[in-house]
């Protein structure tokens, strides 16, 4: 009787031991038979005893558990004097006096030094103290703290506490916020005492409701940590504590300026149809901008305008557009309603819907997870989140699917050879075994991942590299172009690239987006496990299976009906008109079930000019084209507002197919067009307000909220409900600015 046989059957032997045992089994038929029996019996036990679907906590229980997750842990034991409640008051008073002196000397080093050892300034309760220190230790224990600012950046900012988005609660804070803090190093000693009065919770912190409890200590930490406090603090301190904390928790209305790199967006202007009757752009199913914006708003930070890509906000949400008929991969529809921010203008919606593929009908997937395990990935919202996310994905895969894991840091390696999902345990173990450390060399990792994908490449399968990273390619090839060229070349061979972005601070947003585009893939930003669930599970077949590639949209406007138009968003997706028919020109892809929505703001011909004055004076020499063309047949095309043309390729095709939809405007209102249109218009308005778009002058947050509330519809997955809350937060952040 050999325990090794059982261990072998349960895959508990190390690779060497297993190999040695296999060699032994090969020469010993009796032992081999025994091993086979044990293996099949263990499989029986595993299948009979493993958890069943229905065996879960009740939803109420899960909620109460999750509520407990939001509470700061109670003190371990009154070991240190400052954890002792009785002593705390005295200590905090003393230290408060001490810190009042310190606060007037702003150098950062001082602040850092004092922070961990002056718990009493935030000394409202043991939890507060421990929280700061805990964060410090977490940072500190990660071998190095490169510069002071890096560690400051991880200090909590209270914003995410005071909002109703629990799962975001403990992500490491946005670096930008910390930078703002350090740069605006205006301490004011006086408000300290007021603040303490305003927010000191009852002595028994445990008796506090979870939300309130969670908010208080951090707000205090942050404030004592050097945030500029508004002058009218005293007034605010009279408000309900949580409310007042929320208000001065963050530099109000500050725009996040951080190491996150965003390419500037220059908003599409109104274009006169007479000059440019055709508008061309690439489809886009990326949604990363929404997660980024959500993260910042949940931190009570005003998102950087260049992080707000309106098309990605709009496309984040599922819409119930009609599915394509007669076996086509795409369906196109277009309609119009009034523009909520300028009722004289019309809002044209172009809606694309990709064919749905039931999960069990999809082609087998040949996936390679390319995972960044550099040192920057170690925080909980990076590698650990990626690991959890990939677990979710792998658990959904079937036996025909294959998964390989390649990691890269200082050097890259194959952590798991391409493995059939019949051996899920092995895949999951490989994912769980990943640890972060070292520098990043993105390019060579990508090459290795493509090699793995090529090993099991089958043209009819879904071949995809899924890059999981914070986008910090800080060693070796820095050239975006070089990486993109590689990715585009591989996409040409049939291996596509999707990107899951995580983390804050050195998130190379534009680089990731560019790479996913070149790789015929999509780019999603994961800020939480629930976002991973959306990206990888709810839309898994979409993330994995492309049904149409190089989807381009061209809209031709009828000058008889339209004076000028403005494409809302898609600034980075604009194409030249001639690119539309050029099959060599790359464009966005659509996965199974994806929807793409594009909105145009249209100035009807009878209005002539968007702002009462033409952007360019009327042409003196050219034929004015704002009158209906003389040879147009009345009644057939002259009533049309526009024609929407869509070009796409089937995933394995090289030549494109064309869909063409003429669009008339029967003059319907948003109300009549139904919830999806209203909601999309509301999301676009939200983006315009956040971007401080010149077109949003007459748009209010109330209008946006009314639109999205009316457009909420059934919202089975709860995305729209979450967005409505986000509108409130955005309004709060932007009102404070004024």
């Amino acid at each position: 009787m050999n325990p090794k046989l059982t261990a072998y059957a349960l895959k508990e032997l190390s690779a060497e031991e297993a190999a040695a045992l296999r060699a032994q089994l090969a020469t010993d038929p009796a032992l081999n038979r025994e091993a086979a029996e044990i293996e099949s019996f263990c499989a029986l036990l595993q299948s009979e005893l493993s958890p069943q679907e229905a065996v879960t906590l009740t939803p109420q229980q899960r909620e109460s558990v999750q509520a407990a997750f939001q509470e700061p842990p109670p003190p371990i034991r009154p070991a240190a004097f400052w954890r002792h409640r009785a002593l705390l008051g005295a200590a905090s008073l003393a230290a408060c006096l001490a810190i009042a002196g310190l606060l007037q000397t702003p150098p950062q080093a001082t602040r850092l030094d004092e922070r961990p050892t002056d718990p009493s300034t935030r000394g409202n309760g043991p939890a507060a103290t421990e929280k700061t220190l805990g964060l410090f230790q977490e940072r500190g224990s990660q071998a190095t703290i490169p510069v002071e600012i890096a560690s400051v950046s991880e200090l909590p900012t209270p914003g995410d506490r005071s909002v109703d988005a629990p799962r975001l609660g403990d992500l490491p804070r946005h670096q930008s916020v910390a930078k703002m803090e350090t740069s605006n190093f205006a301490f004011r000693a006086a408000p300290l005492s007021e603040r303490r009065n305003a927010a000191s919770p009852p002595p028994d912190a445990a008796a506090q409701p979870a939300g309130l409890l969670a908010q208080m200590p951090e707000a205090q930490i942050s404030n004592s940590g050097g945030e500029k406090l508004p002058r009218d603090l005293a007034d605010r301190s009279r408000e309900e504590p949580a409310e007042s904390l929320r208000k001065w928790s963050i530099q109000p209305g500050q725009i996040a300026a951080s190491a996150d790199s965003y390419r500037p967006i220059e908003e599409n202007p109104f274009v006169e149809v007479a000059r440019e009757p055709v508008s061309t752009f690439s489809s886009d199913v990326d949604t990363a901008s929404y997660s980024l914006v959500r993260r910042m708003l949940n931190e009570q930070t005003r998102p950087h305008p260049d992080a707000v890509r309106i098309e990605e906000l709009v496309n984040y949400f599922p819409y119930s557009y009609p599915a394509p008929l007669d076996g086509k991969p795409l369906a196109v529809q277009a309609d119009l309603a009034e523009a909520p921010w300028q009722p004289l203008h019309r809002l044209a919606r172009v809606a694309l819907k990709a064919r749905e593929i039931p999960r069990d009908k999809r082609s087998p997937a040949n996936l390679v997870f390319l995972i960044d395990v550099s040192g920057s990935m170690s925080p909980a919202d990076r590698l650990p989140l990626i690991q959890q996310s990939l677990r979710l994905l792998v658990e959904q895969l079937g036996e025909k699917d294959r998964v390989a894991v390649v990691t890269y840091a200082g050097n890259c390696q194959v952590a798991l050879e391409s493995t059939s999902c019949a051996e899920k345990e092995r895949i999951l173990q490989a994912i769980d075994g990943l640890r972060a450390g070292g520098a990043t060399h993105g390019a060579s990792g990508i090459r290795l991942a493509y090699e793995q994908a090529a090993l099991h490449f089958k043209k009819e399968h879904v071949n995809r590299v899924i890059l999981c990273t914070d986008g910090d390619f800080n060693v070796g090839t820095r050239s975006v172009d070089e990486l993109e060229a590689l990715v585009a070349e591989k996409a040409g061979t049939g291996v596509f690239l999707s990107i899951l972005g995580v983390g804050t601070g050195n998130l190379g947003d534009h680089r990731m987006m560019a790479m996913a585009n070149r790789g015929n893939g999509n780019y999603a930003y994961l800020d939480s496990l629930s976002e991973a669930r959306k990206v990888l599970l709810d839309q898994m077949t979409g993330t994995v299976v492309a049904v149409a590639k190089d989807v381009k949209i061209q809209v031709e406007f009828n000058p008889a009906q339209v004076a000028a138009y403005r494409l809302i968003g898609y600034e980075k997706r604009r194409l030249e008109a001639r690119d539309f028919n050029n099959d060599q020109k790359d464009a966005g892809d659509m996965g199974a079930g994806h929807t793409v929505t594009a909105l145009y703001e249209i100035v009807p011909a009878k209005l002539r000019y968007p702002n009462g004055r033409p952007a360019v004076d009327p042409l003196k020499y050219a034929q004015p084209a704002t009158e209906p063309a003389k040879d147009a047949t009345p009644g057939t095309t002259s009533g049309e507002v526009m024609t929407v043309k869509v070009r796409y390729k089937l995933p394995e095709a090289d030549t494109s197919a064309l869909l063409e939809v003429p669009v008339a405007d029967p003059g319907k209102s948003l109300e009549q067009q139904g919830p999806d249109f209203q909601f999309a218009a509301g999301v676009a308005g939200f983006g315009m307000l956040l971007r401080a778009s010149p077109s949003a002058k007459d748009l209010s947050w109330e209008t946006v909220r009314a639109l999205v509330t009316r457009g909420k519809g059934e919202d089975p997955l709860g995305y729209r409900g979450e967005f409505i809350q986000l509108v409130e937060k955005a309004r709060g952040v932007s009102l404070q600015k004024r």
Binding site: M1, N2, P3, L5, T6, A7, L10, E12, E37, I38, F41, C42, L44, L45, Q46, E48, L49, S50, P51, V55, T56, L57, Q61, R62, S64, V65, Q66, A68, F69, E71, P72, P73, P74, P75, I76, W82, R83, A109, R115, P116, T117, E130, K131, L133, G134, F136, Q137, R139, G140, I145, P156, R167, D170, A214, D381, P384, L385, Q388, R391, L529
Partner: protein, 182 residues
Amino acid sequence: MHISMQEPPSPPPDPLFLEATLARFEKPLLNYCLGIVEDLHQARDIVQETFIKLAQNLATVDRTRVAPWLFTVCRNRALDHVRKHRNVIPMETEAFEHEPATAPDPAVVMEQRETAHLIRHWIGLLPEKQREAVRLKFEAGLSYQEISEALQTSPGNVGTLIHLGVQALRQRWAQQNPSPRL
């Protein structure tokens, strides 16, 4: 500059880690607990308590060893419950086999219970250590390493316990299955 620490701090609430832990262990833990208390409502309550306790004790829990921690806490609570409600302290095999109330006639068991219940019944008859190891392996899906930490023994010993347990179960299976005496 490095930050010097004087006091061992406790970390802040960490919903992300806890959510991930919940997602990973909810079902295994519940399944495991169910194996002990044999009552879904009780098992749910115990697992709920276990996760809340984890949240409260996060400061002192080694996050790389969260599985052993969870299963140890859960087992202790489950056994407490069983003790209270059965007035029988589950001990060694013999105690169970001579307990008429909890061990109905095998033939009845065979007829009435499905394979899973049958196997669970046999697991209940294993010596305590083997029983625990087998449950943690098959009901909870832990690795030998994790089991060794939960049971505070060596991984090698876990291998032996599981091997012995599996062999015993196999024997019963072999006895019952080729020639079932119904």
